[in-house]
């Protein structure tokens, strides 16, 4: 069942240190027929998953376990060509990382996750998103 009806199933990496929030994201994305290839609580775990799994998009919290930052995770994932969308209560207002397409501020409605992921992936592919949920912002990289 693809609830948003926007096509392709994506391979998603969730970089989130709170187990229950990660579970909620994973369940919601599964509902929208995306595949969560892994949940990482810090930068090292994210990179370990990135080296063994093809990933279409990473969803990165900003404050991670062990004092790590989701900004660092997104930067290191970008070196592998993996785009990111921040999901955090403290999303930076701007970024120099062209592969961070945007952010969705916590608390976000789970029903919006499917559309957010599809929109973020479209932007990362250089396309215009068909629909973007309320609360999602794109970074201006121009």
């Amino acid at each position: 069942m693809a609830c948003d009806g926007e096509g392709k199933s994506l391979r998603i990496l969730v970089v989130e240190d709170e187990a229950l929030v990660a579970m909620l994201i994973e369940d919601a994305l599964t509902l929208y027929e995306h595949k969560v290839v892994g949940v990482a609580e810090n930068v090292a775990a994210a990179m370990m998953i990135a080296t063994r799994e093809p990933i279409d998009l990473a969803l990165c919290d900003i404050r991670l376990a062990d004092g790590d930052s989701g900004v660092d995770a997104a930067a290191q994932l970008a070196a592998f060509g993996i785009p990111s969308l921040y999901l955090s209560g403290n999303c930076p207002a701007r970024t120099d990382n062209p592969l961070v397409v945007g952010y969705m501020a916590k608390p976000f409605p789970t029903a919006a996750l499917g559309r957010a992921v599809t929109a973020a992936h479209a932007v990362a592919q250089g396309q215009a998103p068909q629909a973007m949920p309320a609360g999602m912002q794109l970074y201006d990289h121009h």
Binding site: D27, E41, N90
Partner: protein, 373 residues
Amino acid sequence: MLEREPGGIITIHDDPPALHDQLPRRYLAIIAETAERLLAAEDPAAMVDELFATICDELKLDVFFNYRLDGDTLVLEAHGGLTARHAADGAVLQIGQAICGAAARDRCKMHVTAIQSSHDPVLGFVKAVGLDAYACTPLIYGGRLLGTLGFGRRWAGRFATDELSLLHIVCSYVAIAKHRLWIEADMRRSLERQERLMHELNHRVRNALQLAISIVGMEFGVPEADTPLAAKRRAVARLEAMATAHRPLYSSDRLGEVDAETLVRGVAEQTVGHDVAVLVDGVHGLSVERGVALALTIHAVLLDTTDLGMIRLERRMTDGAARLAITLSAASLAGTGTGEDGLPRSTGLLLRQLHAAIDRDRSGMTIHFVNET
């Protein structure tokens, strides 16, 4: 009034220091310049360095010592005209030690004359520095001792009365300026703390709401045979467990940290519905993220437990690592070996978030993990 004492030490009682009509005009100019510099000063040590540069030629000063009161000791904050060895020797003084310590203890200005011919042990340090005259003033503002400021000469055995008046006036200005800088630094620290608190609160509120959504959302995974009322009760109980982890927040200076004993006791009593004895071997802090994960884990474990006896919190060394161990004494939790058998998926994820392991024995269950706050 001057009071002559043996050993060349003169204690001076002239509070507050007065601006005498007879002071030379150039002294008045120095006082004006000093006041201007002190009003604009931004650094306590640099401020006294500049002051020394302003007055040392006029008063033919060789040395200055500026001590800051730090608890019960005097710490040398700024100095001039000293060798590195002398500065190290006088780096810290006890109240009452040497002439500066005596001035701080008695809160009196002191003028020491003919030091090189004195055998008074209190003068040993300034004598070793080679001084023959020394004037030390306690820096006091609003009744609070801030430190001392002393000036010395090697070439003469005393200061003139006008010179002492000038030094005392300058020192009273320094006390005011240092108090102002202290207040400003205190306000800056306070504002920085407020800013950190606001940032932390912003993060905490948003994260807690997201977590609350997840906690209620967990009910979607429960079999449909369950009643809606039971589902609501479970969701409310989990939210209460999460709230327990947030309740002790911001009660101390350690932002984002909660006391493990308060947390475990609170969530256990809330879940089992009666008082619980908690034995603890010390104070254990937890980050709020770990606190929430632990609270929800204990809540899940104790949900159907009716025979909980005691809870023990202790630090254990296992394989060279300090682990926080929470032992729940209840026959219904007893078993053998390790593992998460019978626990729901969400509890397994929380245990992984904590990097926690579970051990069971004949008396109950122990949850243990490396606790780095």
